[in-house]
């Protein structure tokens, strides 16, 4: 069994990341933001994961003492298929596949569950959770302490813009 096939089948947002985003406000932890807040922890998780993917930052996640969901919820729910499209694409790239290849069928079986109540297999969660941790590290190091959603979004958009220009 590979390292990635171990682990739990759920999203993993470390305690440090939770605390960081609670300063803006998540769910009922209203934080200090005067420009809105996150409606669920899966939202900052997604933004961290995408930042990790974009910046290619990943590492084993730090501890998490609270539980997390295992499917995309809240604002991320309606884009579940497209998000899967990105993470699976990234997964294939990590296996050295970037175009039509019969091996993709095998990778699909490793990545997606056949149980329609769930979406991802352990390997998928392992990859996403590593990117989420890498992305959070990058956010905290680059943006620093922050309690305003608008400031966070401005920084985030700027990062996307820079990456887009660099690309």
């Amino acid at each position: 069994m590979s390292e990635e096939s171990k682990g739990v089948r759920r999203f993993h947002l470390s305690d440090d990341a939770r605390t960081y985003f609670e300063k803006i406000g998540v769910q009922r932890n209203t934080g200090k933001s005067k420009s809105g807040m996150f409606t669920a922890y899966v939202e900052p998780y997604f933004l961290c994961m995408m930042m990790g993917i974009i910046k290619d930052k990943r590492r084993d996640p730090d501890p998490m003492s609270k539980d997390m969901v295992s499917t995309w919820k809240s604002n991320a729910k309606q884009y579940e298929k497209e998000i899967s499209g990105v993470v699976f694409y990234k997964y294939c790239l990590s296996k050295g596949i970037s175009k039509e290849d019969d091996r993709v069928l095998k990778l699909m079986e490793n990545f997606f569950t056949i149980d329609r109540a769930e979406v991802y297999e352990n390997e998928a969660f392992a990859m996403m959770n590593k990117f989420a941790q890498g992305g959070f590290d990058y956010i905290r190091d680059s943006l620093g302490p922050n309690d305003q959603l608008a400031d966070f979004l401005i920084w985030y958009l700027k990062e996307l813009e820079d990456t887009s220009v660099e690309g």
Binding site: A40, Y79, S84, G85, K99
Partner: protein, 691 residues
């Protein structure tokens, strides 16, 4: 009253011990409805035959420990027609209420298997299995103790009069009267019956060790109720605090508004500036929220979205899952027109039929197909610059409007500015406090599963195996009322189960007691009836009844004899004992309303040769058919009787034997019906013994 009749007409051995192949009686002969004596030299297979007969009667296979060698043909050569490696076969031909029936038992020593066979016209010939007529099945199936009484060795007849034989007596009564099943239910003691066993197996896991589990659960339930009460109080307190703090915040804001009004009297711009600030704050929040929502759309937030689309476009996107796709294609081919609207022609149908597999894939999951379609549908919509500008603009507007309000307020008196500052600080402190109280309120009162999961509120509700905890130490850690209700409901269910199980257990004990008492009464009645039938037989017999006037009773010490004065006779003569035993068997026959052959192995063994005269007076007249397997010593004792034509006689011996010697034991085993040979068999051996 219907009397059922069962007779044995023939016994056949094939490769059984000393018997290569033997029919008794031989050829077309049959056992008569009277007494048959079959003289067989000791060691030739009388006891083996007895066991096989018992199996054939009772449908109980022979002990598997004896399959390998116990019944196997003895001689390692085939000189006389036997084969050591062939299965041993034993057949008994019956006449059951005039119907012919043959039951066989075949023992395969090599493969360690055995099987019964049955021949009946109504079955269409011979079949595997034990399938005698119903009356036979009802009387004998599984009733080995009863069968032992009429397929009996001489020793047992003697034992019936002793305490060692009492078990056989009582077991036979239970089987003949069909009460054995009820005895199995209640057992001989309170703890070894099936009712007790089922009660233990099915209910003990629920009831637990005595009442201990119920007490533990009751204690846990009380604790849960106590904790629920505490948490309800805490919830109410949290709600009260939320109301109080909210009211205080409102009060602070009212006071700020009052200060604003005071300033507005001198500076009319303040109200306008506050309205602008409020509007710009709302705008900023809306803009931030809409941008946040867009970020979850990968076509917007992932700069390399086009590569993702190209990647998925290059994969097997045109294929359908094979599990559903093949059926779909076939259905389309059966339509009059294709889904494109054109009529099918043979060529098109043939082409699709031949190539449909190209569009199917076994491993392609439905989800992946949906994902690929979704990726293809969402084209790149990256406009970071414009969104950045929009958000920055709204942020600047809000900052400017906020500064504008602050500037106007800063024109207030020192006293009012100080009041503003204090109110702002207080609102900040109260807001933090409000958040804490609201959180506590939700921790205790929330039923929203996502919130409960996010905050791990039910981590102490469940054990690691996902069962609900009943552990008080863990229960104490639960704050969420919904969690406590789950635990409460689980414990209440378990207590109800125990209550239900306890009621069932009490019911089972009651059933056990009722059956037990009923058995005692019924068996007492049956014993009286059997004793009546026995004593009716004995009164016609010599020795016990006619001569001694004794009365026999069925007791725990076996059959016991009483004189006319009702005194127990501890030492009765042999004739009395013999009479008692056979009268008991006869009584059982009468009770079962059946006439069954009595098969005896060395019948005088238990009583000694001296009992022969009594035996001939007692046994043959009492039973319709008697088949006795005797040795030459018993033959001699019965000689005067059977020579008068009172019995059919058969000598089973080896062909080469010299009759008076019973030797040499060579040649094929045969049935010799010559009476002279029967009388003189082993004469010289017996003479030698006497000398």
């Amino acid at each position: 009253m219907t009397q059922n009749n069962i007779f044995i007409r023939k016994i056949t051995w094939e490769n059984v011990r000393n018997f290569e192949s033997l029919e008794l009686p031989s050829g077309s002969g049959k056992f008569s409805n009277s007494t048959s004596l079959a003289q067989i030299q000791n060691g030739y297979g009388k006891t083996t035959t007895l066991y096989l007969l018992r199996s054939v009667f009772s449908n109980m296979p022979i002990d598997k420990n004896f399959i390998k060698s116990g019944y196997r043909y003895r001689f390692p050569h085939k000189k006389w027609g036997g084969d050591q490696n062939s299965p041993s076969k034993f057949y008994v031909e019956f006449e059951v209420n005039d119907e012919f029936c043959r039951i066989g038992l075949e023992i395969d020593h090599i493969n360690m298997k055995q099987k019964f066979t049955t021949f009946r016209e109504s079955l269409g010939g011979e079949i595997d299995g034990w399938q005698p007529p119903n009356i036979f099945r009802r009387l004998f199936e599984g009733k080995d103790d009863f069968v032992k009484l009429f397929v009996m060795d001489g020793e047992l007849a003697k034992e019936l009069n002793s305490s060692t034989g009492s078990a056989a007596v009582n077991a036979a009564i239970k089987q003949v009267t069909n009460l054995a099943g009820l005895h199995l239910l209640v057992g001989s003691e309170l703890t070894n019956g099936q009712i007790h066993r089922v009660k233990q197996e099915q209910l003990s896991s629920i009831i637990g060790d005595g009442e201990e589990r119920g007490v533990r659960l009751q204690s846990a339930l009380s604790k849960v109720e106590e904790l629920k009460q505490e948490q309800r109080m805490r919830l109410q307190q949290a709600k009260d605090h939320v109301s109080r703090v909210s009211a205080e915040i409102i009060e602070c804001n009212i006071r700020k508004n009052k200060l604003d009004k005071k300033i507005s009297q001198t500076n009319k711009e303040l109200e306008k500036a506050k309205t602008r600030l409020e509007r710009s704050s709302t705008d900023l929040e809306k803009t931030a929220t809409s941008i946040l929502e867009r970020l979850f759309q990968p076509a917007f937030s992932y700069p390399e979205w086009q590569e993702v689309q190209e990647f998925h476009a290059s994969q097997v996107k045109a294929k359908l899952p094979r599990s559903v796709g093949r059926t779909w294609f076939k259905e389309v081919l059966e339509l009059e027109t294709c889904i494109c609207g054109r009529s099918w022609d043979e060529h098109s149908k043939e082409y699709v039929g031949e190539h449909l597999e190209d569009f199917l894939d076994t491993r392609l999951m439905t989800y992946v197909k949906e994902m690929q379609d979704s990726v293809a549908e969402h084209s790149n919509s990256q406009s970071y610059g414009s969104e950045l500008e929009r958000l920055k603009q709204k942020q600047i507007e809000r900052v400017l409007n906020s500064q504008s309000v602050d500037d106007i307020r800063s024109q207030a008196s020192d006293e009012d500015r100080k009041a503003y500052s204090e109110l702002d600080q207080k609102i900040g402190t109260l807001t933090t406090e409000l958040t804490q109280w609201e959180h506590l309120r939700d921790v205790i009162g929330s039923e929203k599963l996502e919130f409960i999961k996010e905050w791990g509120l039910h981590q102490f509700v469940y054990n690691t195996d996902t069962t609900v905890t009943n552990n008080i130490a863990k229960i104490k850690e639960i704050e969420n009322l919904k969690g406590l209700e789950i635990v409460e409901s689980d414990i209440a269910r378990k207590i109800a189960e125990i209550g239900g199980a306890a009621e069932i257990a009490k019911g089972a004990e009651l059933v056990q007691n009722v059956i037990s008492e009923m058995l005692t009464r019924v068996e007492k009645e049956i014993n009286i009836e059997l004793e009546g039938k026995m004593n009716s037989s004995i009164s016609r017999m010599v020795g016990a009844g006619q001569d001694g006037g004794l009365v026999v009773k069925i007791t725990d010490q076996g059959l016991q004899y009483y004189n006319p004065n009702g005194d127990l006779q501890s030492g009765v003569n042999m004739a009395a004992e013999l009479g008692g035993s056979y009268a008991f068997i006869s009584a059982l026959y009468q009770y079962a309303e059946v006439s069954i052959p009595l098969v005896l192995d060395t019948p005088l063994a238990g009583f000694g040769d001296g009992a022969s005269a009594d035996w001939t007076k007692l046994v043959p007249p009492t039973f319709n058919q008697v088949i006795a397997l005797i040795n030459s010593s018993e033959m001699r004792a019965l000689k005067g009787w059977f020579e008068k034509g009172n019995a059919d006689v058969y000598l089973i011996r080896r062909a080469d034997e010299v009759i008076p010697l019973g030797k040499p034991q060579t040649g094929k085993m045969i049935v010799d019906s010559n009476v002279d040979n029967f009388v003189t068999y082993e004469r010289d051996v017996l003479k030698g013994d006497e000398e």
